[in-house]
Symmetry: none
Subunit: 454 residues, 2 copies
């Protein structure tokens, strides 16, 4: 490990420059304009894996390609499957970025760019740790496989099929994913639970065109008013979601979990200040951490309808659209929630409108075994890589692939987050700490060591 | 009147040719490129007034000039003030015009051109009727003044100031405006009521930027959900607006008015079909015409917040904005409605949000006295000019100048519409029936007679 750690120190500057190259590629999976950038990013990752000493290939899919890499020359040792993604969220709103999203800029010890933490920067630590082992020791203490996909931000539509068709190729003992966060600066964490997600879009169609609100207003249903009213019915004043059956399958947080969450350092005032809000607010009877990690939600992610330019325009709009997502907790199932929501909306829809409902692929929540040997190895690796033991937490986001790995490959996932919640993921000015990048890479190198010692 | 009517018949062809000259001038007030055309159109109108036998002058304003004309040689007789406008809407989209917008073309008994009905053609009837009286009888039975402005299509910014500064010059007993429509072909109408309007914009500011809905969702108020919920509280399921005090000052429709509306030819199925909706819907207990003409509304004209592009984006948006307008009925006052709405929104706003509220200038509703001698004169004049008695209707839109005349000059307005709702005003292929042009001119000539007979 001494040689491995020295190699990582010696090559720290080069690793950052390489990461910058990757961050310059606008690999926005949601927007078909960027198709060639997707290919470019996949090829960049493939080449890095190959240069590190792995076998590496591009696997075409019906959507964006998957990069598959492997080093499996250690028969009898455990096999770890590293999962990450090279695609990123759209960067809008562009005018809120201090420096352009695809021109990485280092300021105050952070690298700023879309994808810095989610997930290019975090994913890259595992490629570099493998390289360090293979370039120094010449081999790894474990077998390692990589699946780096390009559709994480748009629902991983083609990943399941790839896994289903390549079960043998992807077979492993444990999956490793770095796409979460530390608990706080200086407090690394292992995330043992994630919320699931359901995403949909509802459009209410009214008149065949925008109408003069004086001539026609009051005589037909206004699609924007109607959509707002529907949305208003989703959550009551106590923060309880009103979709019938929504909470039926929810496994409540245990007393132990609530006690552990309460023991974590968390300052409500600091949290409010960091978000720029004067109050936290949510489901009655729960703390902020419980609401974020262990309770389901129903958020409108976007809404549009009618005239949205400057000044007034007195119309009855022709239509209105909202994107709605629910964060799910264990044991809620996405199909059941989708169905209940659609039924609720259709039943409550006023006369004279046509309701169009679409939904995207979602995923269930997961909670992993806290007592497995892999969990012990990860705890030890992080303690060595960061110099401090990790806390065990849940997160509120969704990493659908964790459920997929359990379902298709039959393995748990170690969620080892190197980033921070304040890294502006999915927001302007996304960033990743350069120190965390080093600590993560070192922890990853240690992880191969600790897993190999099992 | 015999001589007057003969003069109008004899000169019908010339009148149409003159109208064509006016229609050839692209007097688009919204576009500064057409400044010289504005001057040209104003001068054309001034000259026509002068040629008819009136005093006529161009009055410069901070914007486009006002043409003022008068014939006031009948002391003791009532004074009528004719209001109209020589400016027109932009003609876009140009490629949808069958013949160019500023090359008037006569087809199927209609003259096609931008401004044909709104308002050059309608306004011109009153100049020609005055000419007919002065060229035959040598005098009018009443005093007549003209205010023909050039900023109606851009908000009449300088009209109020002109009226305030020229109260004596503009003093009159009744205003006359032909800028509305007949009820239907063959059914001339007097519009005795208009709704007023209140326009505002509300923005809810939440977190300082869009946030990841997984990491933060459930712990802070989502501005889009909150705005939707607020909007949802504005109107109940019966279509009743829930802003406290909203209906306090409303003067209900009288039984006579409701009976008169019910007697008008109106086919609900045709109306639904023309708008492309499967049902009409509105305030319980009212018909479609009552809802459009005699009841107040609260319509969202536009809404925007969060991610509105393609596909999903799982964020808690930083903010959400809605434009809201209320159509007002007599005796609601715009300042009171603005204040009530803002108060309601602020009181219902959930914790952790900042509410920003802006409003634009609105105008009150107007209803003119159905029993005034002026109304009787207008009814009689239209019956003689069209050969059929007019129906008495309201309209749902707003004509701010009517409120202005009431407020500054203290007079009611006779809204005598010669056009049709289907004349494509503000749209491509605007037209005006040549028959309606003659009928309107004759009705106007009769109006001076009937008003003078009081």
């Amino acid at each position: 490990m001494e040689a491995v750690e020295k190699y990582l120190s010696d090559n720290a500057g080069r690793n950052i420059e390489e990461l910058k190259q990757l961050l310059r590629i606008p690999s926005i999976s949601a927007d078909s304009k960027y198709a060639s950038s997707m290919t470019e990013a996949a090829e960049f990752v493939r080449k890095q894996l190959a240069d590190s000493g792995c076998n590496a290939e591009i696997v075409e899919t019906a959507g964006h390609p998957i990069v598959f890499g492997s080093w499996t020359n250690k028969p009898g040792a455990p096999t770890a499957l590293v999962y990450g993604h090279y695609d990123v969220q759209p960067p809008d709103p562009l005018d809120e970025w201090v420096t352009p999203p695809f021109e990485p800029d280092v300021r105050d010890g952070n690298i700023y760019a879309r994808g810095a933490t989610d997930d290019k920067g975090q994913m890259y630590t595992h490629i570099k740790s493998v390289e360090a082992w293979l370039k120094t020791v010449g081999e790894l203490p474990v077998n390692v496989k990589f699946i780096i996909e390009g559709e994480e931000e748009v629902g991983s539509d083609n990943l399941d099929k790839f896994l289903e068709e390549n079960k043998e190729k992807c077979a492993c003992d444990i999956a490793v994913v770095s796409d979460t966060s530390q608990y706080a600066p200086g407090i690394p964490a292992i995330t043992y639970g994630l919320r699931g997600i359901m995403c949909c879009e509802v459009t209410l169609h009214g008149p065949n065109q925008d109408l003069h609100s004086g001539v026609f207003g009051g005589s037909i249903t206004n699609p924007v008013n109607a959509l707002a009213t529907l949305i208003g019915k989703l959550i009551d004043e106590q923060g309880n979601i009103q979709i019938p059956g929504f909470y039926d399958d929810v496994i409540p947080l245990t007393d132990e979990e609530r006690a552990a969450f309460a023991a974590l350092p968390f300052k409500e005032q600091d949290y409010m200040k960091s978000l720029g809000v004067s109050a936290t607010h949510g489901e009655a009877g729960y703390t902020t951490l419980e609401r974020r990690w262990g309770r389901p939600t129903c958020d409108v992610n976007g809404i549009i309808g009618g005239y949205t330019g400057e000044g007034p325009k007195t119309i009855v709009p022709a239509k209105a659209t909202a994107k709605i997502s629910c964060r799910l907790v264990p044991n809620q199932t996405e199909p059941k929630i989708v169905e209940s929501l659609e039924k609720f909306l259709r039943e409550q829809c006023p006369p004279g409108l046509k309701l169009e409902f679409n939904h995207w692929h979602g995923c269930p929540a997961v909670v992993c075994d806290l007592n497995s040997p892999y969990m012990s190895a990860a705890k030890s690796a992080i303690e060595k890589g960061f110099g401090t033991a990790p806390v065990l937490i849940r997160e509120g986001g969704s990493i659908p692939v964790v459920g997929t790995f359990k379902e298709i490959l039959g393995v748990d996932t170690l969620l080892l987050g190197w980033g921070q919640n304040t890294d502006n993921l999915h927001s302007p000015n996304e960033k990743f700490s350069l120190e965390a990048f080093q600590q993560g890479t070192r922890s990853s190198a240690w992880l191969w060591n600790e897993l190999g010692g099992q």
